[in-house]
Symmetry: C2
DNA sequence: CCACATTGTTATCGTCAATAACTGATATCG
DNA sequence: CGATATCAGTTATTGACGATAACAATGTGG
């Protein structure tokens, strides 16, 4: 709990830092800075919100090793039993080594099973174990809670709007 | 044996690995896989869209060293001349070491000036140099173009809606 | 003056991901 | 059939990056 572990992507930046915590006394006069052009583009608040979501998810899951990326992978495996590593990695935009390591992570936890399919013995079909099913069911709840916390300020309609707009961006 | 490309021609197209191709376009819908619960939460498309924005910005800026985070810092410096490193770092959620390095980056490029202010000689006032002004003006255009590309599928109204919704989340 | 807080820098470490090279399996085509 | 290329996955190496901790310099308050 005390220490925050490393679990970040390249573009990641944590909002909460030890330095920030160390800074106790609030400044007397120094108001917030002017964000300049950053106020007028979409990309910046997008990142801020994503970091908030990331932080919320990590907090809800309460296991520093379980990152959103790994959660996504487990969800994808659960929703596509028998998919190959290549398919799973491509769906999340991961390189093949990164895919291998992500699946290794879940296999090491006994959540995932690599099955050699006789029709093409180069690849594996990836399946959840029973432990993986339990883990995924648990994670799904936490993901939902975390997502609900992220959008707590929005009405149902607004959440739907937001998703529709995001969907429109990536077609 | 593996595919060792001896006598390799440097510009040969065959040197492009399958990995590189595979990792293009982490489009949400393009895969044959079922995204399961990921379709029904806000956090996942948020990340996808942010990655698209990140990629667009990197492409428009066309200098791999200039990341969104560094752009944000330069923008912040330009909009708040004389701010201290602590203020700048706090505004972007950076630790003090990360702040130092980010400002080092721009100072090494001659864009930024650390001025010792007599009233508190522990800290610096950070200012843009003339080169920094030019760089920032150039970057602002590229940021706008990139942001416009990100939201190309949205109308003006929809962009405003999206920003309002994002603002509502993180306020 | 002394203890302590602050600002910023440097050192060290761990994590993560990317590229390249490798193994093993399959496809293609003469 | 057999040579060659391609595909799926793993491993090795490297590099980027952030975090913590320790440090110097400066400021503040008893």
């Amino acid at each position: 709990m005390g220490k925050v572990k490393n679990h970040a992507n390249k573009g990641d930046a944590t909002l909460i830092t030890a330095d920030a915590v160390r800074r106790r006394a609030p400044k007397l006069q120094s108001g917030p800075l002017d964000y300049g052009q950053l106020k007028d583009i979409t990309g910046f608040p997008l990142k801020v919100v994503w970091i908030i979501g990331y932080t919320l998810l990590v907090k809800h899951v309460d296991d520093p090793a379980i990152t959103p990326q790994r959660v996504s992978m487990l969800e994808l495996i659960g929703s596509n039993p028998g998919a190959t590593q290549s398919q799973l990695g491509a769906a999340l935009g991961l390189s093949r080594p990164a895919t291998t390591l992500t699946i290794d992570f879940w296999q090491d936890r006994g959540c995932v099973d690599r099955r050699t399919e006789p029709k093409d013995r180069r690849s594996f079909g990836i399946h959840l174990t029973e432990e993986g099913e339990r883990q995924l069911a648990d994670l799904r709840q936490k993901v939902q809670m975390s997502d609900k916390a992220l959008t707590a300020n929005l009405s149902e309609d607004e959440i739907a709007q937001l998703r529709a707009l995001l969907a429109k961006i990536h077609q």
